[in-house]
Amino acid sequence: MNVNVLHDSRICEIRWHGRGGQGAITSAQLLADTAYNESFLGVTASPTFGAERRGAPITASTRLSLKPVRIFSQIEVPDIVIVLDSTLLATANATQGLKPGGWLIVNTSENPDQLGISGDFSIATADATFAAQKVGLVVSGFAMVNTAMLGAFARTTEMISLESIKNTFMRKFSAQAAQKNYEAASLTFELTHLLRRGNGN
C-alpha cells in the first residue's frame, strides 16, 4: 500500500464519496474501528461538512497509521478513494488529488477497465449493490452498500481482514445485522476486481 507521510509517521489517507443516506460516514468510522483492532494504533475518521440531505454528494475520510494520528486537516492527496455510488465518479470529481500509485475503489458492476478512467492510480471495482441486495441489505428499496464496501477495501488493500470486519460488525450491530452485513462484505470481497497501475503495489 501507499502512504502519505510528513515524515516518520506513515499515514494511509482514505477519502469516501457517497450520497446523503448511503452511510459513507458510518463506513469511514467502521473502517477506523476495524483497523484499530488490526493494530493500527492511529486511526481517525470524520465527515466533511456539507448539506447532508439524502441523495446529495458527501465525502468522509479515514486515516490509518501505526502510530497515533496527529493530523486533523482535510485530506488533499488521498492514498485511497472509495466511491459508494458510481454516478459520483463524474459529478463529484472523485479522483481529485488521488495519489499516484493510489487506489480508486468503486462500487459498480463493471470491471475496472470498463470505467474508462485514466490516471496514475490503480482501480478496484466491486458490485456491492449486488452483494447488498443479495443478502437483503435493502432499506426502502435502496441497497445499503456502505458496509459491503469494507469487503472491497479489505480485498484491495489487505490492510484489514474479513475476520476483523466481522468482529467490528459484531461489536456494533445486533447479531443478525452483523451477520447480514458481514455476508455482504464478504461477498463484495469476492466480487472485487483489481486493476494495478502506476506505482501502486
Binding site: L6, H7, D8, S9, Q29, A32, D33, Y36, L41, G42, V43, T44, A45, S46, P47, F49, P68, V69, R70, I71, F72, S73, Q74, E76
Partner: protein
C-alpha cells in the same frame, strides 16, 4: 454498554464528552441542541433513557435556561453538566458570569464553533475565548482522549476550588472525528472522583439567602462579624482561579496515579527541550503543530510545541519557564480580540513582559470558521516568522494563515 473494563473505543469527541459526564455520575443535565454539540446531548439523553445514567435530563428551551438549570441544581448540591457551542455559549453569557460569581462547580463542554454573523457551524475558538474573563477555568483538549479525561478532571478541579470549569474542544475536528479513546472503568472513576459536597446548600433546615445584593463596602452581620463587600468576593474568586493552577496540577497527578495516563499539566510540551522555536496553541491545532515541528526538525529547524491545556488560569509561570530557552514563540490563535490581537498571543506577551530571556513572539490567526489548517501551513508560517526575526524589525502585526482576500 456495560462499564466493567477499561477499554479503548473508537469514538467521536462528543461521545467522549458524554461518556466522561456519565462516568462522572452527573446528576442533572440540561442542554440545548446546537451544531456541533448536539450529539453530546443526544448521547446523554440516551444514557438516561436507557437507565445507564441515573440523572435528571432537562430538555430546556434555550441555553440561558440550560445553564440556569445547572445553577439551580448545583445550588442544592447536585452535580450538574451542560454543553454548548458558539451562539449558544453567547446566549448563556449572563449565566456564565453568574455561575462563577456564585462559585458553583459546574462543568460545561464548549464544542468550539465560529460566532455568527454570518452563520458558520464550523470550528474556531472565538466562542469560548470571548468568555474568558468570567471566572471559569477553561481547559482545552487536544484530542478525544483528553476530552474524556478533562471532563472527569474538571469535576475534581471545580469541586475543589468551587469554580466552574469549561472544557473546550474543537467542533467537527474533534467533536465529529472518531479516534481511539481509552474509557476507564466506573470503579476507577469513582475512586478518583468523590461525590460533590457543596459549599452552601439551600436547605429549609438552615435557611440561607444566596447571591443577594452585595454592597460596595464590607458590612457587619447580626453577630457582629464584618462580611465581604462585592470587591472582596471578587478577590476571592480571583484567588480561587489562581489556586486552581495548583489544583489542576494535583488533579493531573492523581489522575495519572489512578488511570496511568499523564497528558500534561497546565501546559504540555513536545520536543521543547532544545527548541529554538516554539509553536504555541490550544486544542487540536496544537496536536497538528507537533507534526509541523517534526517536519521543521527534519529541515534543520529546532522546533518544539507548547500546548495550552489550561487557558484560564493562564499559566504565566509555566509559560515563562517553558519559553525561557526559546528564541521565538509562534502563537496560533483560532480567535481574535478584534481591534487588538489573538487572545493567546496577547496573554503570552503580557505574561513574558518581565521575562529575562524575552523571546520574540509572533501571532497568527488561523482556522476561523473552519478554514482548514495544514501542518505545512504551520511550517510555512514558522519560516515567515523566522525571516522576520532575522530581519531585525521589531514589530510584526498579526499574520493570517491562508487568508485569500
Amino acid at each position: 454498554m456495560g462499564d466493567d473494563n477499561s477499554r479503548t473505543l473508537i469514538i467521536t469527541g462528543n461521545e467522549a464528552a458524554a461518556i466522561g459526564a456519565r462516568l462522572s455520575r452527573v446528576q442533572v443535565i440540561a442542554a440545548y441542541p446546537i451544531t456541533p454539540q448536539s450529539p453530546v446531548t443526544e448521547n446523554l439523553s440516551q444514557y438516561v433513557e436507557k437507565g445507564e445514567l441515573d440523572a435528571q435530563y432537562v430538555a430546556v428551551e434555550s441555553e440561558h435556561s440550560a445553564l440556569s438549570v445547572c445553577i439551580g441544581a448545583s445550588s442544592v448540591g447536585a452535580r450538574a453538566f451542560t454543553a454548548t457551542s458558539a451562539n449558544g455559549l453567547a446566549y448563556m453569557c449572563e449565566q456564565i458570569h453568574w455561575a462563577a460569581g456564585a462559585r458553583l462547580p459546574l462543568v460545561m463542554c464548549c464544542v468550539n464553533r465560529a460566532m455568527a454573523a454570518p452563520w458558520n457551524v464550523l470550528n474556531d475558538q472565538q466562542d469560548s475565548m470571548s468568555q474568558r474573563d468570567a471566572g471559569w477555568v477553561q481547559l482545552f483538549a487536544r484530542d478525544n482522549q483528553e476530552i474524556l479525561d478533562l471532563v472527569i478532571q474538571a469535576y475534581k478541579i471545580a469541586e475543589t476550588a468551587y469554580v466552574p470549569v469549561m472544557v473546550c474542544y474543537d467542533g467537527y475536528i474533534l467533536s465529529h472525528t472518531v479516534m481511539p479513546v481509552d474509557v476507564p472503568t466506573q470503579d476507577d472513576v469513582d475512586r478518583f472522583l468523590p461525590s460533590y459536597t457543596p459549599h452552601t446548600i439551600l436547605n429549609p433546615d438552615n435557611p440561607r439567602n444566596l447571591n443577594q445584593v452585595t454592597l460596595a463596602d464590607p458590612r457587619v452581620n447580626s453577630s457582629g462579624v464584618l462580611c465581604h463587600g462585592y470587591l472582596e468576593f471578587r478577590y476571592m474568586l480571583e484567588e480561587a482561579l489562581h489556586d486552581t493552577m495548583q489544583i489542576i496540577s494535583d488533579t493531573n497527578r492523581e489522575f495519572t496515579s489512578v488511570f496511568g495516563r499523564n497528558r500534561g499539566d497546565l501546559i504540555w510540551n513536545y520536543e521543547l527541550d532544545d527548541a529554538d522555536v516554539a509553536l504555541l496553541a490550544a486544542g487540536s491545532i496544537a496536536t497538528q503543530a507537533t507534526v509541523a515541528a517534526d517536519e521543521l526538525r527534519t529541515q534543520g529547524v529546532k522546533a518544539g510545541v507548547i500546548g495550552i491545556r489550561s487557558y484560564r488560569p493562564f499559566p504565566k509561570e509555566a509559560l515563562m519557564e517553558a519559553t525561557s530557552k526559546t528564541k521565538l514563540v509562534i502563537v496560533f490563535d483560532k480567535s481574535l480580540s478584534y481591534g487588538n490581537e489573538g487572545p493567546i498571543c496577547s496573554d503570552l506577551k503580557s505574561a513574558l513582559y518581565f521575562s529575562e530571556m524575552r523571546p520574540m513572539v509572533h501571532g497568527y490567526v488561523a482556522g476561523l470558521g473552519g478554514r482548514d489548517i495544514k501542518a505545512r501551513e504551520l511550517v510555512e508560517a514558522t519560516y515567515s516568522s523566522i525571516e522576520w526575526l532575522k530581519s531585525g524589525e521589531s514589530i510584526k502585526t498579526t499574520g493570517w494563515i491562508n487568508c485569500q482576500i
